[in-house]
């Protein structure tokens, strides 16, 4: 039996186990929507903007580990996905985006709603495809899902000309794929792993630097085993939060620009850095020449291009972290690092994360209370800015996939749609979106999804009336010249949520917070808590741009 391209797409999605798609219809993708209309096994969520669709697919993928799917029409629909694709690319999130395209005969003529989306997205996708013949559609879709999830995951875009969606062919979903140009290395080189074990044996002041790769590779338990067996302290990047329990005494929390003082001191003083699934972003290294200046570096990553990209590595290991760590754990001996851990303990005691815990409702206090009331078990989805850093600092993550945040791209507006995606992916879990008044207004139209689908999650809005992180930089580095950072004209967020038909609570005093949180988490519905916090609260500590990470402001 012959099927149309649109039917083939939907059949392929079913074969890939897709149960939810986020998207917005439009002219060039209507044949696909027409088929989805009568397909009961795939839920389509109509976001109010395609960026929301891409972020929701991203949040879904991060929360579940599965591939997220989004769908948009040609032209503006496709370009609206771009930020979401770049966001997923920088944080290695597997999503597949399908876009409508004008008919093949019209391509290149500047037809209505035509853009060359493959050209536009070539540097922010792992791969992209324009399907020119319906006969190649099934294979391309299979390849797209494969490429999105294997090796270092990432976004893939498939562009579907309208005539290809309508054209018919015999459908057969290929069992096997021939992808010649993409063969990730999974097993680390055994010699390198042995060398790494020897270095760990000799090290006096070793530290583990765990990144998002640990979570992607589902290697948290292997990481825990390594740390506990060798008594090596663990610091994580923003993307690595949750890969190692922060409640454990070996945890140093997050390092970097807004990292804990003790993590930054420890990595600066270490003689061995065991870097696992990290990419040495400038936000964690600070001044490159000073980073880990005394240390030998072991770097494990599945992407060979990350090794040696920013810092030179002594023992590179290309492979899947879970597999490499299993072997490494067998090769290392039990160790104790009494003096080193004693030193770290002193740093922790002398320089803890701290804020002014007075009578004022401060953002750090809010995050601490959210941690308490959720018992550290919620999936925290953040936006980007000060609230994101406070969420990283004052909530203690113990499980992977419980901290979802835009790390590499730093996309304001990510939080709400990503939380929606996470909630669709994990309906049984408690989801909390922590946002700022700036970020929230960049995609607040997606409130409609939360209402329409009766999603029960809580938004904590850290409302300081500013683009707070930029304002902080202006305060510290631009002589307090607050150029265009005051968000005057913002709506009354309580009324806004009420207009959408939801519940919202305003909190401006410290003593109001706990009752509000209690109410929010006991109601089985969407609730936003609008927390009015001081305008000029800063994220502390901070490593000034260009400085070494041990040179923090806000540390005695």
């Amino acid at each position: 039996m012959k099927l149309s391209g649109a039917e083939i797409l939907v059949q392929c999605l079913k074969k890939e186990g897709v149960d939810v798609i986020f998207g917005v219809p439009g002219g060039a993708i209507m044949p696909v929507y027409d088929i989805l209309y009568s397909e009961p096994s795939i839920k389509h969520i109509l976001t109010r903007h395609e960026q929301g669709a891409a972020h929701a697919a991203d949040g879904y993928a991060r929360a579940t580990g599965k591939v997220g799917v989004c769908l948009a029409t040609s032209g503006p629909g496709a370009t609206n996905l771009v930020t979401g694709l770049a966001n997923a690319y920088l944080d290695s999130v597997p999503i597949v985006a399908f876009t409508g395209q004008v008919s093949t005969k019209l391509i290149g003529t500047d037809a209505f709603q035509e853009v060359y989306i493959c050209g536009i997205t070539s540097s922010i996708t792992k791969n992209n495809y324009i399907v020119r013949r319906v006969e190649e559609l099934a294979e391309i879709i299979k390849e797209a899902f494969y490429i999105a999830k294997v090796g270092r995951p990432g976004p893939v875009l498939v562009d579907l000309p309208k005539d290809v969606q309508l054209a018919q062919t015999n459908f057969e979903y290929p069992d096997k794929l021939k992808v010649i140009g993409y063969n990730p290395t999974y097993d680390g080189h055994i010699k390198q792993i042995k060398m790494a074990a020897q270095s760990i044996e000799k090290a006096k002041r070793p530290i583990i630097l765990a990144g998002g790769g640990v979570i992607i590779s589902n290697a948290s338990s292997e990481l825990r085993e390594l740390a506990l067996k060798t008594s090596i302290p663990v610091t994580t990047t923003l993307m690595g939060l949750g890969s190692f329990p922060e409640t454990h005494s070996l945890s140093l929390g997050m390092l970097g620009m807004h990292g804990t003082p003790y993590a930054n001191y420890a990595i600066s003083d270490a003689d061995l850095i065991i870097a696992l699934g990290v990419r040495f972003d400038d936000r964690i290294t600070g001044k490159l020449s000073d980073f880990g200046a005394q240390a030998k570096v072991i770097h494990v990553d599945i992407d060979p291009a990350e090794i040696g990209k920013n810092i030179s590595v002594d023992i590179p290991i290309v492979g899947d972290l879970k597999k490499v760590l299993k072997r490494l754990n067998e090769a290392v001996n039990k160790k104790e690092h009494k003096t080193w851990l004693e030193k770290i303990k002193e740093w922790k005691k002398k320089n803890p994360l701290k804020y002014k815990n007075d009578e004022i409702l401060r953002p750090q206090y809010i995050i601490e209370k959210v941690y308490e009331i959720t018992e550290g078990k919620a999936v925290i989805v953040t936006d980007v800015g000060q609230h994101q850093m406070w969420s990283a600092q004052y909530y203690q993550y113990t499980e992977p996939r419980t901290f979802i945040s835009s790390g590499g791209l730093g996309t304001m507006g990510y939080g709400l749609p990503a939380a929606i995606g996470a909630k669709f992916g994990c309906p049984e879990k408690k989801v909390v979106c922590i946002s700022g008044d700036g970020s929230f207004q960049m995609n607040l139209q997606e409130l409609a999804i939360a209402m329409g689908h009766k999603l029960n999650f809580v938004v904590i809005l850290i409302n300081n009336s500013y683009l707070g992180m930029v304002r902080q930089w202006q305060e510290l580095f631009f002589k307090k010249r607050y150029a265009s950072t005051n968000l005057f004209g913002s709506p009354d967020f309580v009324k806004l949520v009420e207009a959408y038909g939801g519940t919202a609570i305003r909190v401006s005093k410290k003593q109001e917070l706990y009752p509000a949180l209690n109410k929010a988490f006991s109601l089985n519905e969407f609730v936003l808590i609008d927390c009015l916090v001081p305008e000029e609260e800063n994220v502390s500590p901070i490593v000034p741009p260009g400085a070494s990470i041990s040179e923090m402001l806000g540390v005695d």
């Binding site: 493959c118 050209g119 070539s122 540097s123 792992k126 791969n127 324009i130 490429i147 992808v179 010649i180 140009g181 993409y182 290395t185 992407d303 060979p304 291009a305 040696g308 990209k309």
Partner: protein
């Protein structure tokens, strides 16, 4: 330092732009790029000459390898590969003495005259880059009207092919 990289890619519209944009985005500078079909159906081969130290070469190789449509990437060492470039040079030759001088140079360089009239001669030459440069320099005084060069293409010497050469960046 200059490096010659051979890249086998999937042959389809858009691959050239994909590879070229990777170089631009990562800040690598392409000195020359030649592309054409290979012995295998559906596979094209690019010969890319880039300037950069070992670290740059390593990153280029690794980043190229990440592209799904790139099948093989090899760094070709000058001493162990055959390198050629083809150039067409249009020279003003409006008097007999000039014509005979140019013909002599063409002979010395084992080049070919592929088009001629009273005013110009078009010379075809192949060889390593230095040879092509030398001929162009010697012809310059007569008045070069136009030059077109293919950019370098290269193959490894001996029985090894691109699939068996030592991999770099993997």
């Amino acid at each position: 330092m200059r490096h010659t990289i051979a890249v086998l890619v999937k042959d389809y519209p858009g691959i050239l732009a994909k590879v070229a944009s990777l170089f631009t985005r990562r800040g690598f500078n392409i000195e020359s790029l030649a592309v054409g079909h290979t012995e295998e159906n559906g596979v094209s081969r690019m010969t890319i000459v880039v300037e950069g130290d070992e670290k740059v070469l390593e990153q280029i190789t690794k980043q190229l390898n990440k592209l799904v449509d790139v099948f093989k990437v090899r760094d070709l060492q000058a001493q162990s590969s055959v390198e050629r470039e083809l150039a067409l040079i249009k020279v003003s030759t409006n008097s007999l003495p000039v014509q005979s001088e140019v013909i002599q140079l063409v002979d010395i360089f084992r080049a070919k005259i592929v088009d001629v009239n009273n005013q110009i001669m078009t010379i075809e030459t192949t060889g390593v880059e230095d040879k092509v440069n030398a001929l162009i320099e010697l012809l310059r005084p007569f008045g070069i009207k136009e030059v077109v060069r293919t950019g370098k293409i290269a193959l490894s010497r001996g029985s090894k092919d691109i699939f068996t050469l030592k991999k770099t960046g993997e």
